[in-house]
Symmetry: C2
Subunit: 326 residues, 2 copies
């Protein structure tokens, strides 16, 4: 299976008995990165561009997982093949996600049109699962129509997810109070849709709050389409068909206005920029510093003895770096 060519062939044919195993294997390769992961990423890229990717973000206890499952079911009713990625940015392990997976697996068991994958976060360093984009690209190449990305746990993954998906749904529930106020600005910037879940608990006040936030923000941003505010009860599925309609409408109107294309361009510019940064560190600076280990030791030792100011040591290192580049 480690032959990428062969893997690609299996990936492209859902009717093949080895298809799901091929998808799982490709996801693992993509997650692991390294040479094989890189090779795979390059191979799947030209095959993609068809899947609609939607991020679901919101506080713990907002019923996000249940909602994502209902949205998946609704897309299934419409004949779409749906992949779900659960990302837990707060944990280097995926215990929680794996547990949730099992419950989910049962819910969608026997349906070949659903694929569930959980990814662990980067742990202490924070942030999203490092290879989330690559995992999405695998699903995209493997002819999944919809990829739902759900952030589990808490933290910055909440807004970061917007950098890897086409549309971001922000899930809110009544009673969060001040917490929303502090999240407000970040959430507003990334939200393409607001979902007020647990609508049976009474979301009038929340609706008013979100709507007035949105009115304030559209007066500031001109590039954004209207952001719809939907009400759902994830447990019963109420409101979910309308939510899926709204997702589709949002996609169409953003494509028509060019907002869609502008976001994709912006996302790729950001990705190129952070890849350059990684390359510069991993391939250039880190080897340079390793080669200059003796100098580093001497400088560090002199600073520790207070016989050299750190700024002068930096000057020396910068000069060494510049001379090396020529």
């Amino acid at each position: 299976m480690d032959n990428i060519e062969q893997l690609l062939v299996s990936l492209r044919d859902p009717s093949n008995p080895g298809y799901r195993r091929a998808v799982a294997h490709a996801l693992t390769l993509a997650e692991q990165g390294g040479a094989a992961g890189e090779q795979l990423a390059q191979a799947v890229f030209p095959l993609g561009g068809h899947a609609l990717t939607i991020g679901f973000t919101g506080a713990l206890g907002s019923g996000k997982s249940t909602l994502v499952d209902q949205v998946a079911a609704e897309f299934r009713c419409r004949g779409k093949r749906v992949a779900i990625i659960a990302v837990d940015p707060s944990s280097p392990f995926s215990h929680g996600a794996i547990l949730g997976d099992r419950i989910r697996m049962q819910r969608h068991s026997g349906d070949d049109g659903v694929f569930i994958r959980s990814m662990a976060g980067r742990g202490a360093a924070g942030g999203l699962a490092p290879r989330l984009l690559e995992a999405i690209a695998v699903f995209d190449a493997a002819a999944w129509d919809v990829v739902l990305v759900e952030t589990v746990g808490v933290g910055q993954g909440d807004t970061l997810v917007a950098s890897v998906v086409d549309l971001t749904a922000v899930v809110l529930v009544p009673g969060l109070g001040d917490e929303i106020q502090t999240m407000k600005s970040g959430l507003l910037e990334v939200a393409d849709l607001f979902v007020l879940n647990k609508a049976d608990l009474g979301v009038e006040r929340l609706h008013t709050e979100v709507t007035s936030m949105l009115e304030l923000s559209t007066s500031l941003h001109t590039d954004s389409a209207v952001v719809p505010v939907l009400r759902t009860i994830a447990l019963t599925g109420e409101g979910v068909p309308l939510l899926v309609e709204a997702i589709d409408t949002q996609r169409v109107s953003q494509l028509a206005s060019g907002q869609w294309q502008r976001r994709q361009q912006r996302q790729w510019r950001q990705r190129l920029s952070s890849r350059m940064r990684e390359w510069l560190w991993e391939q250039q600076l880190a080897p340079f510093l390793a080669a200059e280990e003796e100098t580093m030791d001497q400088l560090a030792s002199a600073i520790a003895r207070r016989s050299l100011a750190p700024e002068l040591a930096m000057e020396q290192l910068r000069n060494l770096w510049r001379r090396r580049e020529v």
Copy 2:
């Protein structure tokens, strides 16, 4: 006061009526960074190297703050001037720390030999307060004998603090159970002392656990001094004089064995390395990418249209970067 020369003079003389205000101002400058912060950092560096810096790390609810206050009081009894820095890595704001500060201020009020400062973390990016090292350097230059650094809140600050202090005390309390197991490896590497606080709750089992962890680890590491395990009741101050003795003994024995010097050298090597990384990004790559904005846009747009593979775009950017360097 923005005249650095003048500020330095005020900083060096604790009997000067403007001294505490000068320290506070220098800390603010150091925290803000920028040109003034950099200038200050350079100016205070040769004046420092005398203060003993001790980091206190451990889980929420371990009674760390109370312990740090008691340790400060004990150092005061020994005629030392003590600065306390409370770092909250989990928050971009310092609300919690500021609240804690007020209680502390009262406890040490009227004592010119104590200075308390709280620093916020980097927020979403995680990690320690970005200018913690610079703040310590200010206290050092301002003739404080001891700087106690306490991480408030949760997260990675727990072990990161070890990279900026001379000695790290890991504070544990009974009943944390499995949590310690997962923290184990990271904590063991940074601990110069273990403090079992709330010893009145019964710490026999915890003591046995920590001791056996330590035995296992000393068989792996040869460079470490014996790591003492102390028992305290921070609320009453019991065990705190012995803890302060142990800190002193640890300092003396690490100085004698050379472990102290090796750590300082290692810390400075790490700092030079991360400063080079910052410099390369901020002064070199970021301006380069800004200058190549049009190219970035074209590449990103071509990738978004799937007419260019990201890897080829990266190749172009790397070539542009290399050509620019020559």
